[in-house]
Amino acid sequence: MEEKLLVVENLTTSFHLQNGWFSAIEDLSFTLSSNETLALVGESGCGKSVTAYSIMNLLPKPGSRIDRGSVLFHGKDLVGLPEAEMRSLRGSKLAMIFQEPMTSLNPALTVGQQIAEVLYYHNGTSKKEALKGALELLDQVKIPAAATRLNDYPHHLSGGMRQRVMIAMALAGRPEIMLADEPTTALDVTIQAQVLALLDDLKRELKMSMIFITHDMGVVARVADRVAVMYGGYLAEVAPVENLFANPVHPYTEALLKSVPRLDRDINDLNPIPGLVPSIDRMPKGCRFAERCEHKIDVCEQQMPDLTSISDAGNHSVRCWVRGAQATSNGESQA
């Protein structure tokens, strides 16, 4: 079997609210292979960003904690790793880019200084060499007239250019895994297309793996090799991208795909999913999607189903009483 670059097992992260600790992600298990892009998709509050922050050990402290589980990177558990060790990985082997490039860049430093800083700290290059390296990185992310841009401050740049600078900073440490948290959500569609194409090229050139967090099914279809759909802190379904769109099995995935307006075809009636995403301090007892689900049976409101494999190849898993692997043993038929 091929080596998995990242193995997340039973990861559970809680946040402290006024009336106690509540889990934002629960029992999350997935893997990431080399050169693979895994999309984490879901709506606000489903835990997709918390997953990334947990992997990177960037959770706000105090106020949050990892309760259980492990994050194995090359077999080494990142959970509970001393901060000094984590810091040497973060920004070099594991890099992250964020949704809002303006708030993630330092407004008081030039773009060149910020990129050079990464090289200076992680690779121990001289300051002069680091600036040269920054120039190469700006070229690599296809910023026009990179040499003059080096002395620009973030406010001189457009949103798309800022995101390219963020990507350049993330690349500076030659990461093996790039975590991208909604990197194109704040951008216009034509600029989004450019940034997605750039990430695609870089991934291929540099043989990176990517965890791509988004809420946009269109972007998922564009970038992902595999998709993990999250709902209420749990993984609802994990599948290769073609399978997921051609044959969505979890009722949430299916409803989500049916409820989005399409540019490429006529839709006379949208099928909105009724109700709201439950908030983390008021999660239902059983399956968290049960109250909005049109296929629910009694057991759904009692107990959370396991994530079970439903394909022979073992690459399509789903957490559902009606359509998961437990269902067939109960004599339920798949729709």
């Binding site: 216009d188 297309a193 269109g218 279809a221 992902a224 540019l263 999913i273």
Partner: protein, 326 residues
């Protein structure tokens, strides 16, 4: 009653800004530059484009929330731009707006009931009891429970707040609602709930919508006709299906090609295009789109193309088509 509800002709809105230190220079931004379109009764008309193209300013200019500098706006035959303050207040009862961000559009210190009742009190439309009944009826219509009247905006989710925004827009039984990115801030599953709600209301109240959005898929679903804007100008307009399925203007093609489609078999060949939207402060000479246009010709660099009618319903402003016709 004529079929046409709103007619916008040659609408222009400019902003002036001062830039530079220590000797600031005044620049003029032609945010909306001679746009023309009309909306029929009971119709949804989409206005699409990227940030800074002037689509929101166009919506606000029609309501005179910002004062236009030229052109004409007629609502049911009445000249909106010639109205004085009192007439304008009356007119705004027929023309309402829904904003993108329901968080900042609602007063955080007022209950939902107060937010909805206040405009009715201001316009002296009914007794206290009548107004209360009206508020409850409206809440029910937008799918909120009556208890919502006693709650404050922060107690609601984004989708519920947008429902309050819609209820407020419906207060005066308007004929036209200008919806400025009404679902852009909402989650996917909530987006479709709000779209379905707006569509239902459109049918029951025979409403017309000016639907401003950057999301082509949402516009395709909600609108029957659409205009595409780029740097203050309408580059193409027509029935939504034709414009998106067989776009004529190169910019519409680019916009369509760049929009991600939730289908992995289609989206892998998403269009790639270099360059960014130029600053509206200093738009390119000639056709504003020419520096990014794949079909650019010599004439495009010097002369802005005039709008050409392709058929009775479609117009496009592009030299590619003027040459074919000429």
């Amino acid at each position: 009653m004529s079929k046409e509800l709103l007619k916008v002709e040659g609408l222009q809105t400019f902003f002036t800004i001062k830039k530079g230190f220590p000797n600031p220079v005044t620049h003029t931004v032609r945010a909306v530059d001679e746009i023309s379109f009309h909306i029929n009764r009971g119709e949804s008309f989409g206005l699409v484009g990227e940030s800074g193209c002037g689509k929101s300013t166009a919506g606000r200019s029609i309501l005179r929330l910002v004062e236009p500098h030229g052109g004409q706006v007629h609502l049911s035959g009445q000249d909106v731009l010639a109205m004085d303050k009192d007439q304008l207040r009356e007119m705004r009862r027929k023309m309402q707006i829904i904003f993108q961000d329901p968080y900042s559009a609602l007063n955080p210190r007022q209950t939902i009931g107060k937010i909805l009742a206040e405009p009715l009190h201001v316009h002296r439309l009914g007794t206290k009891g009548e107004i209360r009944d009206r508020v409850f009826a409206l809440l029910k219509e937008v799918g909120l429970p009556p208890e919502a009247a006693n709650k404050y905006p922060h107690e609601f989710s984004g989708g519920q707040k947008q429902r309050v925004g819609i209820a407020r827009a419906l207060l005066f039984e308007p004929e036209l609602i200008i919806a400025d990115e009404p679902v852009s801030a909402l989650d996917v599953s909530i987006q479709s709930q709000v779209l379905a709600l707006m569509q239902g209301l459109q049918e029951t109240h025979n409403l017309s919508f000016l639907f401003i959005s950057h999301d082509l898929a949402v516009v395709r679903y909600f609108c029957s006709r659409v205009a595409v804007m780029y740097l203050g100008k309408i580059v193409e307009q027509g029935p939504v299906k034709q414009v998106f399925d067989e776009p004529l203007h190169p910019y519409t093609k680019v916009l369509r090609g760049a929009s991600p489609i939730p289908d992995p078999t289609l989206s892998k060949k998403m269009l790639r295009m270099e360059g960014e939207v130029p600053s509206p402060l200093d738009p390119p000479t000639g056709c504003h789109f020419h520096p990014r246009c794949p079909d650019v010709m010599e004439v495009c660099k010097n002369q802005y193309p005039s709008a050409i009618s392709v058929d009775s319903e479609r117009t496009v402003a592009c030299h590619l088509y003027s040459q074919k016709q000429g």
